[in-house]
Symmetry: C2
Subunit: 349 residues, 2 copies
Amino acid sequence: MTRKLVIALDAMGGDHAPGAIIDGAVIACERHPDASYLIFGDEAAIKPLLARHQRLAERAVIRHTDQVVSGDDKPGQALRHGRQSSMGRAIAAVVDGEANVAVSAGNTGALMALAKFMLKTMPGIDRPALATVIPTERGESVMLDLGANVECDERNLVEFAVMGAAFARTLLGLPSPRVALLNVGVEELKGHDAVKAAGQKLRNMALPLEFTGFIEGDGITAGTVDVVVTDGFTGNIALKTAEGTARMIANLLANAFRSSLMAKLGYLFARGGLRALKDHLDPNNHNGAVFLGLNGLVVKSHGGANALGIASAIGVAHDMAADDLMGRIAADLKTGGGAPAASGKAAVS
Amino acid sequence: MTRKLVIALDAMGGDHAPGAIIDGAVIACERHPDASYLIFGDEAAIKPLLARHQRLAERAVIRHTDQVVSGDDKPGQALRHGRQSSMGRAIAAVVDGEANVAVSAGNTGALMALAKFMLKTMPGIDRPALATVIPTERGESVMLDLGANVECDERNLVEFAVMGAAFARTLLGLPSPRVALLNVGVEELKGHDAVKAAGQKLRNMALPLEFTGFIEGDGITAGTVDVVVTDGFTGNIALKTAEGTARMIANLLANAFRSSLMAKLGYLFARGGLRALKDHLDPNNHNGAVFLGLNGLVVKSHGGANALGIASAIGVAHDMAADDLMGRIAADLKTGGGAPAASGKAAVS
């Protein structure tokens, strides 16, 4: 890609703003030489941070605003008062065509509300979804929706499958991602009406993805599929359950390695191998959730992300913009809608 | 407890039946000297196993049947043809008052269907739920529903809270368990209608439990509450996601310890501490899911459980029967229904 990409950064969102945001951009700047940055936030705080990093400073413009969406702001408050905040103005830069993508580590609900209101939903999509990359036993997979929609019907789930597959093609470089619906069993008769009907539809559509049917919760981390599709209630809870379980084991493991002198020695010996595992599971290395289905790209970073995490989120933003993810989704929706497969499996009653 | 307890065992259910079932009963027999056993299944297979264990043999009666519910049987098939199977007859022993509780490691759907049909739902309960004990960072908690009901309304969730609390009082010995509803956020306005309405009701009921509001997915393993309540779709997926994540980390950890000679040495040194962690997370040590809300007690073991796992499931069965769990639930339902707390929190709109 030699096309110039512009990334709009909300410098004031997240637990470690603006320091971690600018430090993250410094790392991203090395990784993606084709990108430049519009940085929104408190100029007095950002300028001295930027001054220390010549390369980023040359490719960045600060846009001052003293308004910030706080972690406690409700989505409604953000909609009423947040348009001139660093978050709102980063999204506005995408709306105006000044930037190709916006990145924020701020309040998720506020970001979702502002992004949806300001960018609007893509034609052909009923509801946008929040997707992210998750670590699995075999590498990485995509999961959505992570909480944009607490209730979803079959149409939503089918659209999530299409958008998630486009995201996996872009981000994981897979020509025909394996897509599955999360369910309480793998048989066609399992689950509630929406998931059964979505399964039936996906089996009969011709899409640039391989629909593998249903998977259960333990299939998420097994890595046997590339895209895990579910409603936002279940997806949010499954993602956080996985994160919580990983954290519990990490804490118990740390206790185990502290439990005796022998165990401490053992940790020292095994440190190299354990570090690779830690890196693989570190949320900072998989950071960057994406709102799919809007007329513009917005990436949400974990609020607690460090500079490496912010750099990962900017990397996700970069790759989606460089690969024209929105164009892919629009094209896939046309393909899927226009050419249902002829396979005549009986409808699941 | 000196009252004689009778436990009905389905000897033919699960991946390692009847060997693991009988070996599990041998262990349980040492742990719970007040219990005796009715063992249902193929006498020719069971008898030689029992002959090796004098103490169990003295306290067990074999009831022969050559019919078995297989792992592939659909719930409907089990209802039509499974009444004379080892599973069906173990439940029938509870219906007839011959046994205080039934234990099976067989097909979950079939067991659920047969138990519900043969025992019927308790008066005052709309739908039974499947509950289990899960390992947390601080010890153990109870979670339900794990898949008995893929769609739940607010009444179901409230009843699950009451039944789950009674289960935690019995099994974990807690006088007033902390109970939370699983949700996508902790604020009262978060989630879908059923979970919001259930939260509102539980805040205003006087029950022998401490309702702490909503928790997110990562709260399940944190162990800050004793009972996690959710619908069967979400609960099934959350439980399996946690199991899958734990399995992924265990596999990656095993690889890390094999990755170099140094790491192998490290494992040897740290082995003691790691074994305690492994024991804490081993599903066999938390085995035994319970159908709550029926006119009789039925415990479901993991199909893959080994003898220790079966012994855990029998232990759960024993404790519930000894503690009159059904009586507790019936009394709690009366308390909760009859005496709503006066606290006048505004309804969540």
